[in-house]
């Protein structure tokens, strides 16, 4: 199926955004997030960006205090996902200007809108920043 979930978690292990593309119960999510965050946070810069966890492979990238973690199927192209994370960050950066953890926290809806334009049903839909941001601009106009 491709992407199973996308998480943004800070260094303290607090979830700032969670988007799942398969249904997990709340308990399963809590357990999963706890385990993954623990595994990723324990790693250092010299280690690779991939962590195997149960049936998932976690591709993660750290930006300042925030970890972006994407859970994918075992046979997904890891580097393509790694750069997709960067594309997501660049897109948010373009919108917020110097995006930081607080932007995502206090504008959770926008982060969700962007993600919605980029990923659907675990597959990549759009990779052009202008196209991704056009619907948000539409909403801003509505205000």
């Amino acid at each position: 199926m491709g992407i199973r979930f996308i998480l943004m978690v800070n260094k303290q292990g607090q979830t700032r955004l969670a988007q799942y593309y398969e249904w997990l119960t709340l308990e399963e999510r809590r357990a999963l997030e706890g385990e993954i965050v623990r595994k990723c946070l324990a790693r250092n810069d010299q280690q690779c960006s991939f962590v195997e966890h149960r049936n998932y492979k976690i591709v993660y990238r750290r930006y300042a205090s925030l970890f972006f973690m994407v859970g994918v199927d075992d046979d997904e192209n890891e580097l393509a996902i790694l750069e997709f994370i960067h594309l997501l960050v660049e897109t948010m950066d373009k919108h917020f200007g110097n995006v930081c953890e607080l932007d995502i926290m206090f504008h959770l809806e926008k982060a969700h809108f962007m993600l919605e334009e980029m990923v659907m049903n675990g597959c990549i839909v759009e990779t052009s920043k202008a196209n991704i941001l056009s619907s948000i601009q539409l909403m801003d106009k509505a205000h």
Binding site: W23, Q47, F50, T127, S128, A130
Partner: protein, 1015 residues
């Protein structure tokens, strides 16, 4: 947040919360607030609704259950304005799952949006359906979505979403989506110029092709066209160029789609594709910019996969291997990881193995990499590339790595080493060496299968027997040996010890002495093996050694009254038999050879592999003749002749019934053996320790005098062991889950769960903030339990690491799974074990709380008044010292209350408080965050009213004080269970729990209690 002040305030509040408890309070308050507002529909404006629905999403994201307001979220979908509608769509797709009934109510609105004229609404609706649409949606929406996808009047914006929406509907319900004649449509779609539409259409193509590649062969050249266009950077808008690379994601996806076609027949298409691939292979350079580098290598790795899939000419293949060989030695960890991963995939292709072998030393280096992700890949690769020529080196490396590997890898590692040793052993003595080393180095992680297998080999190969016996004897000289080593060496020496008789230190009596030294250190299941070995040693001493006989008889005598019936029975029977002379010789002669069969280890490994998803790799592997490791031969099942001799290993595994039967054989009471009795094959048929349950029955037959007196009652047949009739598929819960849990909170071993098919026992050791639990999962039936799954749902404060549980528990076998626990910080939350299995067609699922409760991290500590009072005074007040008047306390006399406190390791310090109605207690709490921390408590009771008391608890950590106070309170109030049960006690248990009379076996003697006592 834009225009939603209330939401911003709430988020700020959450952000400012000092701890989880404060957060929980704030969230609860907000949920109450939202609930009230939703009830008052009159004042609920769309704006307010929108705000509250966002709050719900926020709370849900934090991990709290939001079990109301779904209706409100869904209702926003039908709001006329874009902002509300958008929120409705997005929050609904986050909060609801596809089976939610509210979602069905929205189908009409969603459909109207999809077929309507507003394209932003169309996009929202398509996205929702694409993310969470279920079967109902497939049935009612598929034709509309298909129409949109191919409509020429529709903008790419809508069509790219329609493609992925259709993908969802097709996956959810292929029958509802009519794809007849869609090959042409797909081919047209792939002619599209818009990169967004192409990206999502290729995803759809992958799903359709993996289902039926022949039908879509016309799409193959189109994918190649896309690749040509991208690789030449023709007509790719700047917006789709990522660090100078034309949409790497589309390139990857198109190459992935091509891997679902078995071959490329058309020569010109093939040529065009190979040109593209060649350009990628040759033209990808390492550059400074990380992002550019990653993106180009993403494409390169996909190209490598495709080349491997297409089985290119030898030259190109060796080019690929050379590239991968370069990758596995670079510094950059990501590339190294992917190099190893892809090399493992490459093993599926014949005739590259020799080239890969050249990189063996480099791969072994990666097995020592500081990064576990890389080590795992290296392990897989080494496992895959192992053959007769390099088995010795690779297995040596694995053994070496075993001593330093992390716990989570050790079991897999030992299984893999054992399998390789078995498959590629240049000689059998080497195999024995490897297995004994494995047991020596990582006994805890060596499953019973592994040592059963070595016993089987030794039994079947006469040449090997003296060697194995002398090796086993050598290991016994070591000071501390693992219990599994005791088992295996006792077995081997019992059978073949006499072959060593002329060597120094190997007389029967010396063997007995050294084995008997180990007896006090072993657990109950090992004792029967030792008893059998003693009996065999005794039998082999010719001429008889009266001294040895005296010693061994004394041991038998001692165990005659053992509470464990298996031990007792053996002790009694061996004692009686050993007086019988010739008959004794017959019964205790060497075990016959085992029937040759497929290694259960390899089967086990296969089972693990089979659980993997149907991935492209898998499909690709299936399409080509693979030389993958495992050979699956039908396993001979019933052909084995039933041996007539005592299976001495059955000690570990205890099949009292077959022991009784075999023993009775010389007496001629049973002429022919029922072919259905479990054949004494060590590997699969004998009972695990769990079969202790069957013992009461066996004992009762014993009481008729099976040995001394002739005549074992004939009704003792195989089925008598199994209390449950196998025909019935029902699952009956035995005992009360909540009670079992509460009992285990106060002791460290016992039964956690039991039903008519399975029993889960637990045994725990605690040290400081660490705990080591072992879960014993025993199959009580004569047929296997399948789809066994044990997942741990840990609370935030515990770090739990459960060794993988096999998918199948063979009949009457027991699986042990170690569970490492680490306490991070004080909390009363409990971890939950989500256990499920399949018996016949019945799926049984139980959610079980794991008794890793707060008190397990307490260590008793008794203080004197000089130690206590200064500490007590130093804790001045909240939040370090908290006081509370507790009402509704279970009335207890003071000594009883003191016992209760002591039982959970809060030690009562008598005489410290001058008032005789008061208790003062102390303990040490261990967690990673607090370290070892002193905790003090004082309870003031009211002799006039025993149902209330005042409690003061103090420690150096506010959250510890709070959690401990709450914990003690829970123990004191009348109904401690259920008050904060995360898990509904028995409700979520097996299909038909309780209220049924217990089965006869449990009536006779509660096996749970028995097992608990033994653990």
């Amino acid at each position: 947040m834009t225009g939603m002040r209330g939401l911003s305030v709430f988020i700020s509040d959450i952000r400012n919360c000092q701890n989880k408890e404060a957060e929980r309070l704030r969230v609860d308050k907000e949920l109450g607030n939202i609930r009230t507002c939703f009830k008052n529909e009159k004042v609920l404006t769309p704006y307010k609704k929108k705000k509250y629905v966002w709050k719900m999403l926020y709370i849900h994201m934090l991990g709290y259950d939001v079990d109301f307001g779904h209706m409100e979220a869904v209702s926003l979908i039908s709001a006329p304005k874009y902002p509300e509608k958008q929120v409705g769509y997005i929050v609904t797709s986050c909060l609801l799952n596809e089976n939610n009934d509210f979602l069905k109510l929205a189908i009409n609105t969603v459909r109207n949006d999809i077929i309507g004229r507003n394209e932003t609404f169309q996009c929202l609706a398509l996205t929702l359906v694409g993310n969470i649409g279920g079967r109902d949606f497939s049935e009612s929406l598929a034709p509309d979505v298909q129409k949109l996808l191919i409509s020429s009047s529709c903008r790419p914006l809508v069509r790219k979403k329609a493609a992925l929406c259709l993908l969802r509907l097709f996956r959810k319900n292929p029958d509802a989506v009519n794809v007849d004649g869609w090959a042409d449509r797909m081919a047209q779609l792939l002619d599209e110029r818009d990169i967004g539409v192409l990206t999502s259409s290729t995803s759809l193509l992958v799903a359709l092709v993996s289902n039926n590649h022949e039908a879509y062969s016309s799409c193959l050249p189109k994918c190649v066209k896309i690749l040509e266009r991208l690789s030449r950077n023709q007509d790719v808008p700047q917006e789709y160029t990522y660090y100078g690379i034309p949409s790497p994601w589309l390139q990857v996806k198109a190459m992935r789609a091509l891997q679902y076609f078995p071959t490329i027949e058309d020569p010109s298409t093939r040529k065009a594709l190979f040109e593209v691939l060649q350009r990628i292979l040759m033209g990808t350079d390492v550059v400074k910019n990380v992002n550019k580098n990653n993106a180009s290598h993403a494409v390169l790795f996909e190209a490598l996969s495709l080349v491997m899939h297409l089985d290119a000419e030898k030259e190109m293949m060796s080019q690929c291997v050379a590239l991968l060989g370069k990758f596995i030695s670079v510094r950059e960890p990501n590339i190294r990881y992917l190099g190893l991963e892809n090399m493992t995939r490459m093993l599926m292709i014949t005739d590259v193995q020799d080239i890969i072998k050249k990189h063996q030393s480099q791969i072994i280096t990666s097995l020592k990499d500081p990064d576990i992700s890389i080590r795992r890949r290296a392990l897989d690769l080494l496992y895959g590339m192992c053959d007769v020529s390099n088995a010795k080196d690779i297995v040596e490396e694995l053994l070496q790595y075993l001593s330093t590997a992390e716990f989570s890898m050790r079991e897999e590692l030992s299984l893999k080493a054992a399998i390789l040793a078995e498959k590629f052993a240049p000689d059998l003595s080497w195999y024995v060496d490897v297995i004994l080393q494995l047991i020596d180095k990582a006994g805890d992680f060596v499953s019973d299968d592994i040592w059963f297998r070595v016993v089987q080999f030794v039994t079947n190969n006469e040449d090997l027997q003296p060697y194995a016996a002398s090796k086993a004897r050598e290991y016994l000289d070591k000071i501390a040996i693992h219990e599994t080593m005791v088992k295996v060496s006792a077995y081997i020496l019992g059978e073949y010890g006499h072959l060593l008789a002329r060597q120094p230190g190997c007389s029967a009596s010396e063997l007995f002495n050294i084995l008997h030294e180990k007896l006090p250190t072993v657990s109950t299941p090992t004792i029967p093996i030792l008893l059998s070995t003693y009996a065999k040693l005794l039998m082999h001493t010719q001429p008889p050694d009266p001294e040895l006989q005296k010693k061994i008889w004394a041991v038998f005598k001692k165990y005659e009254s053992c509470i464990d019936v298996e031990i007792q029975q053996r002790a009694v029977e061996y004692f009686e038999l050993s007086k019988k002379g010739a008959a004794f010789m017959d019964v205790l002669a060497e075990m016959p050879k085992f029937p040759e069969r497929q290694s259960s280890l390899i089967k086990k490994a296969e089972d693990v592999e089979d659980t993997a998803d149907q991935s492209a790799i898998k499909l690709r592997a299936q399409q080509q003749p693979s030389n993958a490791l495992v050979l699956a031969e039908p396993q001979p099942v019933n052909g084995a002749p039933s041996p007539l001799k005592v299976p001495i290993v059955s000690g570990s595994t205890q099949d009292p019934d077959s022991v009784a039967r075999s023993l009775s054989q010389p007496n001629g009471t049973i002429g022919n053996i029922d072919p259905q009795i479990p054949s004494p094959d060590l590997l699969s048929d004998l009972l695990g320790p769990l079969a202790i349950e069957a013992a009461p029955e066996a004992v009762s037959t014993d009481q008729h005098g099976p040995i001394g007196a002739e005549g074992v009652p004939e009704e003792v047949d195989g089925s008598a062991i199994v209390p449950v009739e196998e025909q019935t598929n029902s699952t009956e819960l035995i005992g009360n889950i909540a009670e079992r849990f509460h009992a285990l909170c106060l002791k460290d071993s016992g039964v956690l769960y039991e039903d008519s098919h399975v029993q889960i026992g637990i045994k725990a050791e605690w040290r400081g903030h660490h705990g080591r639990l072992v879960l014993f999962m025993g199959n009580k039936n004569t047929s296997p339990l399948t789809s066994v799954q044990a997942l741990i749902l840990p609370p935030a404060h515990l770090k739990l690491d459960l060794s993988p549980v096999p998918d199948t528990i063979p009949p009457r076998a027991q699986v042990q799974s170690p569970l490492e626990v680490m306490n991070i910080r004080p909390s009363r939350d409990v971890a939950v074990l989500d256990f499920s299995y399949k018996f016949g067609t019945n799926m049984v699922n139980a959610k079980l709380r794991i008794p890793a409760t707060l008190n397990k991290f307490l260590q008793p500590l008794q203080l004197t008044s000089e130690e206590f009072f200064p500490q007590w005074r130093a804790l001045s007040g909240p939040p370090l010292k908290l006081q509370e008047v507790v009402r509704g306390v279970r009335p207890l006399a003071l000594p009883e209350m003191a016992n209760l406190f002591n039982s959970f390791h809060v030690t009562v310090c008598p005489g410290l408080d001058p008032n005789p109605n008061n208790l003062v207690a102390s303990t040490t709490f261990y967690s990673e965050s607090t370290g070892a921390m002193l905790c003090l408590a004082r309870i003031e009771t009211d002799p006039a009213d025993r149902t209330q008391l005042r409690m003061t608890v103090g420690s150096g950590d506010p959250s510890l004080t709070f959690e401990l106070k709450e914990f003690i309170k829970e123990q004191l109030i009348t109904i401690p269970m259920g008050s904060r049960a995360i898990v509904p006690a028995a409700g979520s248990g097996p299909a038909q729990p309780v209220a049924q009379p217990p089965s006869p076996a449990t009536l006779a003697d509660d096996p749970g209690a028995l097992l608990a006592g033994l653990l």
